[in-house]
């Protein structure tokens, strides 16, 4: 593997068609140039603060803490960002980079629609042409987000190939990129895909852990004992973990979507049920059969409904630095309702997977310990789906 770049242990790499190689090399060169450029960083910080409403709150969930009776729980409120999720951090960074590279058009995949909305938003703001690929099944379960993207001036392509969900949207966006590279940047939405995407997305999302560290130091004068975040591809989780990786006392816990359970076929818990493979540009863990055919995955959450996981998470799992736990649909929906009632905060169903694990963990910890849960997005988009899950026929 002498020529391979972007490795996290054995994971990562650049398993993509030759047609795209010069595009990712150009991206890597541009990123290496701008990531340490004070002007670029000042511009990026200004966008984060004055457009996306950062820093996001680190909120002490007092009701939840008292109710659970164990560790003190803080919520990192990425749901309060402009567009309602952590996705805006990466979209701002990548669109700014695309502009610096002279690109005039951005394309992106989206699952729940949050990354599509974030990309469409930034594209509108920066005057970039924008096209979003979204699994047809997801366009139906997240219809409001489709309209939102159109409202923002983006063209939305429903993807009908394969299982018509997030993995197919990624495949279709990759295909479209091979079609038109010269003026187009692919704003990949998670810490996955070929190098340099996992590194770029992690860096743009690492603002989450940088802020948590600083905010908690101000409030409590110490590090948290555990950081919990949900994991699909894993961008909000890697952003939440990154500045704590070297702080060995901080437990890092990623919550995977177990769907109807990891002992069923209707799951998307990649680390818990998958195996080593090569797909979507990277070596990592994937849900697949014994012949390497990628498995159809399932989760109530469109944003976690992905058969792979970012290569850095696969590595953190391998070395035992982070732990990946499965959370079922039922547990996530319970947590969705619990946080709504207890704190008056409706989390995204994705984020509810992290809340669910905090509900299990906090009572087992002592009152002087601290858990930080990243609420990666707000749950307005999920309200109708949760109502249907509970048997009420409400549609967006």
């Amino acid at each position: 593997m002498s020529n391979s770049k972007g490795r996290f242990g054995i994971h990562g790499g650049q398993y993509i068609p030759e047609t795209l190689m010069n595009a990712v090399i150009e991206l890597e060169e541009a990123y290496n140039h701008y990531k340490d450029d004070p002007e670029f960083n000042a511009e990026f910080t200004d966008l984060l603060n004055n457009y996306a409403n950062r820093p996001s709150l680190l909120y002490y969930a007092e009701n939840m803490t008292k109710d659970l009776g164990g560790a003190k729980i803080y919520l990192k409120r990425e749901d309060l960002n402009h567009t309602g999720a952590h996705k805006i951090n990466n979209a701002l960074g990548q669109c700014l980079l695309a502009k610096k590279m002279g690109k005039t058009r951005v394309i992106a995949e989206t699952g729940a629609g949050q990354h599509g909305v974030a990309t469409a938003t930034v594209a509108a703001y920066m005057g970039l042409e924008c096209e979003i690929y979204m699994g047809k099944m997801d366009t139906e379960r997240q219809a409001l987000n489709v309209y939102r993207m159109k409202l923002l001036g983006a063209k939305v392509h429903p993807v009908t190939s394969g299982t018509a969900t997030l993995k197919d949207a990624v495949s279709e966006t990759m295909r479209e990129w091979t079609n038109r590279i010269e003026d187009t940047h692919y704003v990949l939405g998670s810490c996955m895909g070929p190098h340099p995407f996992p590194t770029i997305v992690r860096d743009f999302q690492s603002v989450i852990s940088r802020e948590i560290k600083q905010q908690l130091m101000e409030k409590e004068g110490k590090l948290p004992d555990a950081v919990i975040a949900c994991v699909g591809g894993g961008s909000n989780a890697i952003g939440s973990f990154y500045h704590f990786i070297n702080d060995k006392s901080v437990k890092l816990i990623g919550c995977e979507a177990a769907g109807r359970g990891i002992d069923t076929n209707e799951t998307a818990a990649t680390v818990n049920t998958g195996s080593l493979g090569i797909f979507h540009g990277m070596k990592s863990y994937f849900c697949q059969d014994k012949y390497g055919q990628i498995a159809p995955v399932y989760s109530i959450s469109a944003g976690l409904d992905y058969p792979g996981v970012g290569p850095e998470h696969a590595y953190l799992h391998d070395i035992g630095r982070a732990e990946y736990v499965p959370i079922t649909d039922d547990e996530a929906v319970d947590a969705f309702e619990y946080l709504s009632r207890t704190e008056g905060i409706i989390p995204a169903i994705e984020s509810a997977h992290a809340v669910a694990y905090a509900m299990k963990l906090a009572p087992k910890m002592s009152k002087d310990q601290i858990i930080v849960v990243t609420v990666s997005g707000r749950g307005d988009k999920d309200v109708a789906a949760i109502a249907r899950y509970r048997g009420e026929e409400i549609y967006d």
Binding site: M1, S171, R180, Q293, I294
Partner: protein, 260 residues
């Protein structure tokens, strides 16, 4: 057994290379297609092993992959089919599939088996130069040619890729995924020229070739033409009755390439 390079040594030195997806519509038909295409003048056959998510393919071959997998085709069943074919036919053949199909099977086990049953080469469109080592080292060990691809965007990479290429160089004619195109605008001659400066190795052009005129044109600028989607479309249209139709089409295409 003939080698990949032998495919470029007959008649005018130009090869016609058809692609089919194994198991579309069934492995029995695939076996008959191989015999028919060999008789019709094909010089080398690309046998696709279907993958659930073929990211370099256009809709025609994507659908063929899904049809084949829904029919229960597996890598092991394809290996069995090749064993049968090799009792009757010695046309050079290469597998075309995706990295995960090989990697998850066990790279060494896959390549050793492929060599053992009489395959000559392997094409992995999602394995670029930077990642080829983990596959090419094993291919070399078992005498399988790992085919390198170059694209219209490769530019300064062509020399580096060509220098280490085995068998032939697969020149991707256009941007985008596989599928028929109305026109190929890339300067194929220039791409092939850059390859030949770096290494004396045959170059065959693929992506978007669907008629005898384009095939002849591409073969005149290189050492061969590769055709996939146009054939797979015939398989889709005629299903289990596709063999004579494919044979007729392959004969027209091969004749055009051999008349250059």
């Amino acid at each position: 057994m003939a080698s990949v390079a032998d495919a470029f040594k007959n008649k005018n030195g130009k090869a016609f290379i058809p692609f089919i997806t194994s198991g579309d519509p069934s492995l029995e038909v695939t076996e008959q297609l191989v015999y028919a295409m060999a008789e019709a003048g094909a010089d080398l056959i690309e046998l696709g092993i279907p993958f659930s998510d073929p990211t370099a393919e256009g809709p025609v071959i994507q659908e063929a992959n899904i049809r084949a997998l829904s029919g229960g085709v597996t890598t092991d069943k394809i290996f069995e089919m090749v064993k049968k074919i090799r009792k009757n036919c010695d046309i050079p053949m290469v597998f075309m599939t995706y990295a995960n199909v090989v990697f998850h099977y066990g790279t060494e086990k896959f390549i050793k088996t492929a060599a053992g049953i009489g395959m000559q080469g392997l094409i992995l469109p999602d394995v670029p130069y930077e990642e080829k080592e983990e596959f090419s080292s094993v291919c070399k060990k078992y005498g399988i040619d790992l085919i390198s691809l170059i694209a219209p965007t490769s530019h300064d990479r062509i020399r580096m890729i060509a220098k280490e290429a085995d068998g032939f160089v697969y020149c991707v004619s256009s941007l985008g995924v596989t599928g028929t195109r109305t026109k190929i605008t890339t300067d194929i001659g220039a791409m092939v020229g850059l390859v030949k400066e770096a290494k004396d190795i045959p170059c065959a052009v693929g992506f978007g070739i669907s008629n005898p005129q384009t095939a002849a044109d591409m073969a005149s600028k290189s050492d061969g033409a590769i055709v996939g989607s146009a054939i797979v479309r015939i398989c889709a249209k005629y299903g289990k009755d596709c063999v004579p139709e494919v044979k007729k089409f392959v004969k027209e295409m091969a004749d055009a390439v051999h008349a250059v």
